[in-house]
């Protein structure tokens, strides 16, 4: 009987997520490119063999994981700080909240263009400021070892508010009594953060991490606008590579293989997250 109520949602999920993934999986075992006249010709896993030997693919995988890991970690720390700040009873808290969520509301392409401008050498504000004080230009987006940091910064700026929104909701579920009880036990504010706030925020942290890891792992438009994957391919992401293969090279078989691979990696990450959440969930079931 209960399954009946789930039917609409299940149907929707199947149509919007299930079927495409199954289709991509099917395509990944076919050659479909200009060479096949865009027909699907079974090639018995040779796309998957090609992936194994594709240095660019593995470089992109590592770069995507690096981007995801670093930006999501920084975002989390910043988001916790923002959430703690916004949870204070400050004067004009509403205005501060609204402003701090602004980056998140901006379209990615627009804000990426903004960051490309900020990092622009010589006219961007960062360079102008550095030059003003007699320092050399930073050239962050022109330097393969640094350019990924530029994309991370932009991503952090854009998505920290999203995490802090979730964490703020989490913070507001923690009753003040707990902190008072903790202070009566002789604890300091710092200890309260590590012994009460963080453990109680854990489910919220994990949920936002799930969202953000999935999102960051599929990063595309941000990088496309800021660096186009360069310089020297140093910022190319898996999604960018999949896009190139599909839309520019018209090699749909290989593109589908990359997408399915990313999907598998993501599912693994989410599974780990889900198991951790369900372990910590019983804490808050009161």
């Amino acid at each position: 009987m209960n399954i009946f109520y789930l039917l609409p949602a299940l149907t929707l999920i199947t149509i919007t997520f299930g079927l495409p993934i199954i289709r991509y999986f099917w395509i990944s075992f076919h050659a479909s490119s200009l060479l096949t006249g865009l027909e699907y010709i079974p090639n018995y896993g040779s796309n998957w063999l090609r992936i194994i030997g594709d240095d660019r693919f593995w470089r992109d995988t590592i770069q995507t994981l690096r981007f995801t890991g670093v930006s999501v970690s920084i975002e989390l720390i910043i988001a916790i700080l923002i959430a703690l700040l916004l949870n204070q009873k400050l004067r004009g808290r509403g205005v501060i909240r609204a402003i701090s969520f602004l980056p998140w509301a901006l379209p990615t392409a627009v804000m990426a263009l903004g960051w490309r401008w900020i990092f622009n050498s010589p006219y961007g504000p960062i360079d102008q400021l550095l030059n003003l004080f007699g320092f050399a230009s930073l050239n962050i987006l022109s330097e393969p070892r640094l350019s990924w940091i530029g994309t991370v910064l932009a991503d952090v700026w854009k998505t920290s508010p999203f995490i802090s929104l979730i964490l703020l909701a989490g913070l507001q579920t923690i009753p003040n009594d707990l902190y008072e009880a903790f202070i009566l036990e002789g604890g300091t504010k710092r200890q309260a953060f590590f012994r009460i706030t963080l453990p109680l925020l854990e489910p919220y942290i994990l949920v936002s991490l799930l969202f953000r890891v999935a999102q960051a792992f599929g990063v595309f438009d941000l990088i496309q606008v800021m660096t186009g994957g360069g310089p020297a391919g140093s910022t190319e992401s898996l999604a960018g590579y999949a896009y190139l293969n599909a839309m520019r090279f018209l090699d749909f078989g290989y593109s589908a293989t990359i997408i399915v691979f990313s999907f598998i990696v993501l599912i693994l990450v989410c599974l780990i997250g889900w198991i951790t959440i369900s372990n910590s969930k019983r804490i808050l079931s009161s």
Partner: protein, 425 residues
């Protein structure tokens, strides 16, 4: 009470919908004999041709009606949009404004209608030499050019008497002007990892006497000329003639620097001329135009980049579509687009036109550049091999790899891509 109110609102909406639906139907039936021709163009082209489209629609009332879809601003985003609809097999558009680099790919995918049977031989010959290039694939014409586009070297008349002719000269003058504090940067060009970098390289490579692919479509990227050309580009950065930041410069950034008077040279397309002569320009009247430098005078080249109209195979109105194309590319239309938007003409005649020459001093330079244009490889796999070239050039320019290492790798990868195609064919 609330329910009744809701029903009333719903009823009102329904009536409104039916009313407008009826009007729309009536309008459609009135124009039952009108053939609609839908064109997808990048936003800037949709804007610049809007006057012509309006004119066409007024004169052809009741027969053919042009509907322009204003596509995205960015070249590749337009291609993405077009490909998405083509893959779905929808005949949403009759005509597509096609960039020169897409043509082979689209033709190979069998998305384009060959135009040979429509084009009178005499008409084709009226096109300038450069404008005739890049419209065919496998000996069939698929595209009629709307605007010629080729790489130019912009130079500052106030800083030198005549532009450099050889790579050596360009490097020396740029370095010297920079060293003397005359300009902040010597020479700015498109060094970002994207199609623009391939365009820059094509010209430079020709200037060094080399080529990307030889006549039998084998890559030549590890030849001495290729390596010298790449080394020269690297030396621009190393010597300080070009700023380090060129490795993330696209057209916009380059124009920005040159427009501000901060550079002595700029590599860009003809559109930059009108940008540099807008009223707020710092260097109005101080700009000269020439073609890219070369070691031997005969090797000067200008990368061809051009847009043209193709008819999509799925179109049901190919005849009318061709009529539309010819209208939008007529000499009258070209004249208008040149005067208003600075679009380089495609007809030979127009370069001799006195009125146009008076209007713009660069017309002779454009004509010259158009006579030495160098096309990019015409293979359906162009996107792949260009992507390889861009990445490897970017690696050597940012010193991730040595020049030889990068160019050898580019050559090998290009062979792999092209031979995989040969194998399966």
């Amino acid at each position: 009470m609330n329910n009744i109110k809701g029903l009333k609102t719903l009823g009102l909406l329904l009536v409104t919908y039916l009313f407008f639906n009826h009007i729309a139907k009536a309008e459609r039936s009135l124009n039952a004999n009108t053939t609609n021709i839908n064109i997808l163009m990048p936003a800037p082209f949709a804007d610049s041709t809007s006057g012509l489209v309006k004119e066409f629609n007024t004169t052809n009332k009741g027969n053919i009606r042009i509907n322009v879809t204003r596509g995205p601003l960015e070249t590749e985003a337009v291609s993405d949009l077009a490909i998405s609809t083509l893959l779905l097999g929808e005949n949403q558009y009759d005509i597509l404004l096609v960039d020169i680099t897409w043509l082979a790919k689209y033709a190979a995918a069998d998305w384009l209608e060959p135009l040979d049977k429509y084009i009178p031989v005499g008409d084709w010959k009226r096109l300038a030499h450069g404008a005739r290039l890049g419209n065919d694939y496998n000996n069939k014409i698929y595209r009629w050019p709307l605007v010629s586009d080729m790489g130019l070297l912009y130079w500052r008349k106030d800083l030198m008497d005549s532009p450099p002719k050889t790579p050596e000269e360009l490097l020396t003058i740029a370095s010297k002007l920079k060293k003397d504090g005359k300009v902040k940067y010597g020479y700015v060009w498109q060094g970002r990892q994207y199609e623009g970098l391939s365009c820059v390289f094509v010209e430079v490579l020709a200037g060094f006497g080399g080529s990307w692919l030889d006549k039998s479509l084998n890559p030549n990227l590890d030849s001495d000329q290729s390596i010298e050309a790449a080394n020269w580009m690297l030396s621009l950065i190393e010597s300080g003639a070009s700023p380090k930041s060129v490795t993330n410069f696209a057209e916009t950034e380059v124009l920005q620097v040159f427009e501000a008077g901060d550079a002595a040279f700029m590599r860009n397309w003809p559109y930059a001329w009108s940008e540099l002569h807008k009223s707020d320009s710092q260097i109005k009247g101080k700009v000269g135009v020439t073609s890219m430098v070369s070691i031997l005078p005969g090797n000067q080249a200008s990368t061809l980049g051009s847009w043209g109209f193709s008819i999509l195979k799925l179109s049901r109105n190919t005849k009318e579509a061709y009529q539309v194309i010819r209208f939008l590319t007529s000499e009258k239309a070209q004249r208008e687009l040149f005067l208003k938007n600075g679009y380089t003409p495609t007809s030979r005649n127009l370069f001799k036109d006195q009125l146009l020459q008076q209007h713009s001093e660069i017309l002779p330079y454009l004509e010259k550049a158009l006579s030495i244009t160098k096309g990019r490889p015409q293979t359906p796999l162009y996107a792949q091999i260009s992507n390889v070239l861009q990445t490897e050039l970017s690696s050597l320019l940012t010193k991730q790899k040595s020049t030889i290492e990068a160019m050898k790798s580019a050559n090998k990868k290009t062979i792999d891509i092209l031979s995989s195609a040969g194998k399966k064919k």
